[in-house]
Symmetry: C2
Subunit: 257 residues, 2 copies
DNA sequence: TGAAGGTGACTGGTCTGACCAGTGGACTTT
DNA sequence: AAAGTCCACTGGTCAGACCAGTCACCTTCA
């Protein structure tokens, strides 16, 4: 357990880092809020007492971390962005590129997170929350005829509801991030036809199954069902030899026979 | 499900981004490997045909993502770093600062990941792997008298073994990252005495329990035990009112009575 | 011959000042 | 009041300069 590092690395601190720290600090302290604007680069130069090169290096770092966005010609200065998962996604994507992590691991990660979120939801839901979840799935039923975009929106709303009910947004954030990475990895193998109405119906059905388990307050069932759904959906993209770890997850809770 | 975004954002691509992409691409293609060196900034200026400011902005971004490291006076040029979890940690930390994620969520996240890793290990282990895991825990037993540093090292080795056996390094990476963030959040509340021998023994005992379940091939037990251990260890840092979601996780698999 | 010391060609970090192509608000014109 | 014009200001990029370090080489000395 426990680190134990008594001493910090004492590598030279560069000016641009100080600037980054100050701005990130102001954000952490709530002195800056998303939507607000930073002063212009030239104004920051005078405020920080550093050169424009230095200020710009700081802004580039913040920008690459998804904290701010500069746009040329914008007279209001760099914009402070709301939190986004962009940075997380970039890191996870990098993991896959360094070959530390493969598709199979991403999928089983999703099975674990999604299953856990649904299990928590089943255990922690209140009556009110159950009602609101049923409302979002009702929206899904209605949008299924309106087209993929609308359906997808309703789908996201459902998962947001799960996140709230499971009392753990971190799970949901990671889940969404990994989902995005998985989709980008298999995007070339996905045929256009996947957006067909039949598949939307299948997806809806899966969600209904999960919600049924949540309604019943049956955590293990909610976890098992959502994992199986994910497996059915994604395992096809995986070489047969690499599916064993995923199958091991499906045994997590004994299926009801 | 699925995105559906047909059109990409078409915001102006800045020069430094092109440079970042080229270098990251070369890394993804394996043309550059950790430990190797990039040409010096002035050399990159000629290779990319951009100004030094632009090249430097690119390097700062890469540096902030943990890809390279520049050191003044180093005649070999910027160093390409091996993959590290630094970037991931930064992102998760930011999540906690934006108040999207609290300590309770981090802890339950760990309970989920650690539990799942151990469950997978119990299900997927081979005889050889079991032997090597027992070897690492034997090392822990021996180092317990040598002091905290050595013990901690052996502890890491044990978890590395779990990661290998569970066939999922992503779980382990996230687990370690979140563990680091949790420790930094509660670091001020941790008394020095926590590194006492008694606590090392307790930790060792917890590991032995988990390994016992893995040896028996009992996935649910491995998950349940490791979750309970984490709960015992961390729940004290959480206000009583926020422990309910964690307790919900302990019910995941029925305890053996 | 071998070790100590000095030197200079590099490195990255920082600054200055300049130019460009856009943007958007203020101002003028209709 | 609506339409069009203009200009101050934005960020993006560049060239060139200086500094403080580092390290390899080379000289010098024992």
């Amino acid at each position: 357990m426990g680190e134990g590092a008594q001493f910090e690395q004492v590598r030279p601190v560069r000016l641009y880092q100080r600037i980054v720290e100050q701005i990130e600090g102001a954000l952490a302290q709530g002195e800056l809020k998303p939507g607000e604007r930073l002063p212009s680069e030239r104004e920051l130069v005078t405020q920080f007492g550093a050169s424009r090169s230095t200020v710009r290096e700081a802004l580039r770092v913040l920008e690459s971390n998804g904290v701010v966005r500069s746009r040329p010609g914008d007279p209001n200065g760099p914009e402070i962005l709301p939190f986004s998962t962009q940075g997380l996604t970039k890191q996870i994507t990098r993991l896959t590129q360094v070959d530390e992590v493969g598709l199979g691991e991403l999928i089983s990660f999703r099975m674990i997170l999604d299953g856990s979120a649904n299990m928590l939801a089943a255990r922690l839901r209140t009556q009110d929350e159950l009602a609101s979840m049923e409302a979002t799935i009702e929206v899904m039923r209605e949008t299924i005829d309106l087209g993929y975009e609308e359906f997808s929106e309703a789908d996201v709303a459902f998962h947001d509801a799960i996140a709230r009910v499971s009392r753990n947004s971190l799970i949901q954030v990671c889940n969404q991030v990994v989902r995005g990475v998985v989709l980008s990895l298999i995007s070339d193998k996905i045929s256009r036809s996947r957006n067909s109405k039949a598949l939307m119906r299948q997806s809806l059905h899966h969600h209904e199954e999960v919600l049924e388990a949540i309604r019943a307050g049956d955590g293990p069932a909610a976890a098992r069902i959502s994992r199986r759904n994910l497996y059915d959906y994604y395992a096809g993209y995986l070489p047969k030899g690499e599916r064993e770890p995923l199958l091991a997850l499906l045994l997590d809770v004994k299926p009801v026979v």
